[in-house]
């Protein structure tokens, strides 16, 4: 098996192989998990011609250094610093051709928390219920650590523009695609009425992201709306993005690794679009919650997904055209 193409990991901190999540999980009692910034993960795969659900790397906070055994095509999205190949910087949010043995350094910029690395063809990793997404609760998942290697399904011949000496593609992603908003759109939750007029505090107050943030939940400190009714709540399914006020002076925003049921009332729910932003927030940042409607949130979600559809189509078309035999394939020097 030593001949199989592999991605060697030279350094990695808080890196996992993940995908869009274990969609079959919640019905069986497991959290959905998967990439916290779903848009960035989808974009990374789209940019290299992969399926949306293909496994990719998620790095939180620090970044990763990789060395492919074969020529590969990869992409870096999320909140990355510019990826560097053998010390030379290339744009993120674009396909990047890397030669066998070259070293790719992917950092995470201060403007966010999580970066994604997708490789054309993706990785062979174990799956559970059809998904490779790590579940820390049940001890499932593929960690990416220094000295390990990920088996690549296939290499990819270099795609290098002869004139520029680099991979140059424009698949139509706007320049500010990775910009993170600290205003999070939310929709009043199913239990909003239990908080009476006090719910308005959620929308009027700034909150500070605490250091207690992970894939299960994000705690933010600030004025906490109090329930105007008392009594225990029967355990119910709680959605990803639910904002709860369990105790003390912190709100809890449930992320994709949350337990699927809880007995706390749900004040409000962060929209799909805003959850991608929430995934990029760092401790100490100030956030605000902004009230919106399901209709407006769906429109925002569709706009982003249609953008991804266009990127995926352009990428597939471009790679298909380039994959045709070419008499004099230019090489990078």
């Amino acid at each position: 098996m030593t001949d199989r193409p592999a991605l060697h990991i030279d350094s990695a901190t808080l890196c996992v192989v993940t995908d869009l999540g274990r969609v079959a999980g919640p019905a069986r009692g497991l959290a959905v998990n998967g990439a916290l910034d779903q848009f960035a993960a989808r974009a990374a795969n789209a940019l290299v011609g992969n399926a949306p659900t293909d496994p990719l790397i998620e790095t939180t906070g620090s970044g990763i250094t990789l060395r492919p055994s074969d020529d590969v095509l990869l992409s870096v999205t999320g909140a990355p610093a510019e990826p560097a190949v053998d010390g030379r910087a290339y744009p993120a949010w674009a396909p990047l051709s890397v030669r066998a043995g070259e070293t790719v350094r992917v950092g995470v910029s201060d403007a966010g928390l999580r970066a994604y690395v997708a490789v054309h063809g993706s990785f062979d990793v174990p799956r559970l219920m059809g998904s490779c997404a790590p579940d820390s609760m049940i001890g499932f998942g593929t960690r990416v650590e220094a000295g390990s290697a990920l088996a690549l399904r296939r290499p990819h011949p270099p795609l290098v523009n002869g004139r520029f000496g680099a991979t140059v593609f424009d698949f139509g992603l706007p320049r500010d695609v990775g910009r993170v908003s600290s205003a999070l759109d939310v929709i009043d939750g199913p239990d909003a009425a239990e908080f009476g007029p006090g719910l308005q505090r959620l929308y009027d107050s700034p909150y500070t992201v605490t250091p207690r943030i992970n894939h299960v939940g994000m705690r933010v400190a600030g004025p906490v709306p109090r329930r105007s009714v008392t009594g225990e709540v029967l355990s119910r399914g709680v959605p990803v993005g639910a904002i709860e006020a369990p105790t003390g002076d912190e709100l809890l925003v449930l992320m994709r690794g949350r337990g699927i049921t809880a007995g706390y009332p749900v004040l409000a729910v962060v929209t799909s679009r805003a959850l991608d932003h929430a995934a990029q927030l760092r401790p100490g940042q100030t956030v605000r919650f902004r009230r919106t409607t399901a209709t407006a949130a769906t429109a925002a979600h569709l706009e982003r997904r249609h953008l991804l559809d266009r990127v995926a189509l352009r990428a597939r078309t471009a790679f298909a055209a380039l994959a045709r035999p070419h008499p004099s394939r230019p090489s990078r020097t």
Binding site: V23, P26, L30, G189, P190, G237, V238, T261, A297
Partner: protein, 241 residues
């Protein structure tokens, strides 16, 4: 909307842009639970769209979806149609899992406290837990915990004021009028009265845990040596070989 046969009503409330909560109301809590699980079964088998998933509990179903494919409003209108044409098939499950439990001591640090609060001697508390075959009402967080009815202590059991940071895998705990069996180590505010030596969670199986809502559990008291003997044995249905 009213399902005449079931004498229950359902109400759909938005839960963000990618989920709705369907609350089922009715006089008979068993009937409500049956409707909740029947509805979730229909949704999870692609009743509306393959990307729609449902988490059934006691009196509500959380329905999650990708707003790229459908919306809460569309789901609400599908559910109105479902209410009118609901099938008669009951919830899944119906099998029994035998669960040996070591009660008290380190395995059940709250057993004596529960005895005090309920006014029953410890052996009576154990008898009550081991009486009958309680129904698994739903799978809860974390990690497909089995949420069961009862036992009937005569009063609800208050939770811990400060949850424990870690209860071990296999913990058998009570709170309110419910029992929970947890497959993994996790924080918990429930009162831990015992622990099963069986291995509940297996990530090499497609369903991860061997039970589902509608199944029943039978708790069987064991001593420390039997506990040690059974440690790590996979949990399975009573008549599985």
């Amino acid at each position: 909307m009213t399902d005449r046969r079931a004498a229950t009503t359902t109400a759909v409330s938005p839960c963000g842009d990618a989920a709705v909560r369907v609350a089922v109301e009715g006089e008979d809590t068993d009937q409500v639970w049956t409707v909740v699980h029947r509805l979730a079964g229909w949704l999870n088998h692609g009743g509306i769209h393959p990307t729609v998933t449902a988490v059934p509990t006691y009196d509500a179903v959380l329905v999650e979806f990708d707003p790229y494919y459908t919306t809460g409003e569309e789901i609400a209108s599908h559910l109105r149609a479902w209410g009118a044409t609901a099938g008669t098939q009951g919830a899944a499950g119906g099998r029994v899992v035998d669960v040996p439990v070591l009660f008290g001591g380190e395995a059940g640090p709250d057993l004596e406290w529960v005895a005090e609060v309920t006014g029953h001697p410890v052996p009576k508390v154990v008898d009550l837990v081991c009486a009958g075959e309680p129904l698994i009402r739903c799978l809860g967080g974390p990690a497909a915990s089995a949420m069961l009815d009862g036992p009937d202590f005569g009063l609800p059991i208050p939770r811990l004021a400060t949850p424990r940071l870690r209860v071990p895998p296999g913990a058998v705990s009570v709170a309110g009028r419910q029992t929970v069996v947890g497959p993994v180590a996790a924080p918990s505010g429930w009162r831990q009265i015992g622990r099963t030596p069986l291995e509940i969670l297996r990530t090499d199986t497609e369903t991860v845990v061997p039970y589902r809502p509608g199944d029943r559990m039978r708790f069987l008291p064991v001593d420390e040596s039997t506990y040690a003997e059974l440690l790590g044995t996979p949990m399975r249905y009573r008549h599985d070989d």
